[in-house]
Amino acid sequence: MRYARFIIVILALSLVASVLLAGQVHVRWGGRSVQVPRTADGRLELLPVLHLLGADAGFSHSAGTWGVVLGDHQVQFTPGSRWVLMDGELKKLDEAPVSTPSGVAASERFLEQAILEPFGFHLEHEPGGLRIAEGAAYLSPILVVPVAADFGSTTTVVLTLGRKERVEVEDRDGAVVVHFPEAEPQLDESRRVASARITSIGVHGRDLVIRLSEGAGLLGSHVLDDPPRVSLDLGPKARPAPASASPPQLRATVHPIVLDPGHGGGDTGARSPSGLEEKTLVLAIARRVARILRGRGFPTRLTREGDTGRALADRTAFANRLEARVFVSLHANASRFSSARGAETYYMSLKDEATDEHAAATARLENASGERSGGHDGLDLILWQMAQAEVLNESSRLALAIQRRLNGLEGVPDRGVKQAPFVVLTGATMPAVLVEVGFLSNPTEARRLATAEYQEQLATAIADGIVAFLKHQ
């Protein structure tokens, strides 16, 4: 009997020990619960939790990412990365998940930030484990992305919020305070706000504080949806003004179309058997396109006016600086297949249509950031890539509009709209395409390209395509 009791005590002790040592945590949601393994460093296995919530989770081997879908919401994350794509929006979290033999594990904070919050839940500690509760946790972090632009006498600041959240805007002496009663603002530090009226932007607890330069004050504020954002108008500090004071005038800006005649200077580009150079041909065509567009009331600028070289990145930067409506780079083609002829239009291919390709593109970016010095960091590249995605659909529409007009020209075989990462299209913040008007390497086509008549036809087709695109924008 004494022996039996001894065994029972040992077994009872082992019952306690097994629970402690095995690293399990009891997670409850609604009427159901699950034992969730915990790694040695305290991370939770995510798959049992996702299963508990009824979420679909899958791992893409080619992409190396986990995708989680619950209802209308979608979250993607990569073991080892703090970046999480939540409903198409990229966020940097405090910690990264890690791969485990049975799936993926992450800290409670990551679980809450990456999985629960996007799906409208939060995590609560309770005796014996964790409870998943509906609704946002009190003081859950909210990402705030600030952007500011000076317009002469006023400055507009837009604070884009990670989600819809209640805010209170307060005009304090020398500062504008945006107060989040139920959330903890987290400033997107990657965005540098450049404005003559702002000296700093920072977060203090639930307040986002925008310190203003001498003489500046808050003129007005609006809270807007889609995306959730707070818009602040800054200007000269309000002072007793004469009744006749006129409202601040916004500078009227006309955004031009930017045409980029390819190559130039020492970079001649392709050359026809008779010596016609690509740089000369495309400048002639660009001038014609510009004349036609200006004649139709569209201000148009060229990246080079004469036979001068210009760095590829500088051409795009020029268009960005002018906030061009569209950017069209003009080129003439060459192929070792002398029979190759016809026009084709390219647009960027960073955001690929297939998941695998997208993943590979991401890998490319990550790699580029990780292994090359002097380049952007991964964050810049990903943010930039996402901004690119916004103009990509527009770029494909512009490419199609131009290519369609080129196909309408007699004797021009359609080589179609294609996608590839061109240096000169990289980083363009507007719809941007590269048009290859024809092959200088094809003797027949080169002879035609050399004629003013055909150049005018091509220019008209390109201008028509641009105008058609702009009219349907």
């Binding site: 039996a4 065994i7 029972i8 077994l11 009872a12 019952l15 097994s18 629970v19 040592l21 095995a22 690293g23 399990q24 699950v34 034992q35 393994p37 296995e45 798959l47 049992p48 996702l50 508990l52 989770a57 791992f59 033999p101 049975s102 799936g103 390819g262 970079d267 001649t268 580009g269 392709a270 050359r271 690509e278 590829l312 080129h331 083609n333 060459a334 192929s335 070792r336 297949f337 190759a340 390219y346 690929d352 695998d356 590979a360 593109a361 890998a363 490319r364 790699n367 580029a368 090359r372 294609k418 590839a420 990462p421 061109f422 240096v423 590269l434 290859e436 092959f439 200088l440 390497s441």
Partner: protein, 185 residues
């Protein structure tokens, strides 16, 4: 007393089961309906005896050709075999993929995901998007189609990373698969 002993014995038995479970397989109770965990490496099958290679045509697209080729399992060798074959005319008589007499000088794979392929640089400046794009993607897409573990390929020229070859395509980083340039079969 007897009931208490039975209770303790039952508790003990439960503890034993739990202990066994905890020691032998703590994750075995994880719901199995989740996604498949990463598969363990499996023995690779015998080398493939043929490969799909992409050769540029005059239409600017990449034309798949099935080429008898023994592909090694080891990634770098596999890439080397593929690219070396691309630098020869295709069985259907298409010219080698490179628009100049390029030679393969080196192949290396980083982290099992990105292949770097180094060619001799062209002696004279190369021109034309129609020379650059099909060449680059014939190499990139052929490698990625035949090496499923690889995610991207970067082309180097003369042991150097280049921004571009003819002033068009961005070659400064590894390129992912671009299926849009492959001719519909």
């Amino acid at each position: 007393m007897r009931a208490r002993v039975v209770l303790l014995v039952l508790l003990g038995a439960a503890a034993a089961v739990l202990l066994l479970w905890a020691l032998l397989g703590p994750t075995s109770r994880v719901p199995q309906s989740g996604p498949e965990p990463a598969p363990l490496p499996t023995p690779t099958p015998a080398p493939k005896r043929q490969a799909v290679l992409l050769y540029p045509g005059s239409d600017g697209l990449l034309h798949p050709e099935i080429v008898p080729l023994s592909l090694p399992d080891e990634q770098e060798n596999r890439v080397r075999v593929l690219v070396s074959r691309l630098l020869q005319p295709s069985p259907a008589g298409r010219p080698p993929v490179a628009p100049y007499p390029a030679m393969l000088t080196d192949v290396f794979v980083r982290e099992g995901k990105i292949a770097y392929v180094d060619f001799t640089a062209p002696e004279n400046p190369l021109a034309g998007c129609g020379n650059e794009v099909p060449f680059v993607y014939a190499v990139v897409d052929t490698i990625l189609l035949n090496c499923p573990d690889l995610r991207a390929v970067q082309l180097l020229f003369g042991d150097r990373e280049v921004e571009t070859l003819t002033g068009h395509l961005d070659l400064s980083g590894p390129l992912p698969l671009n299926k849009r340039l492959i001719a519909p079969s």
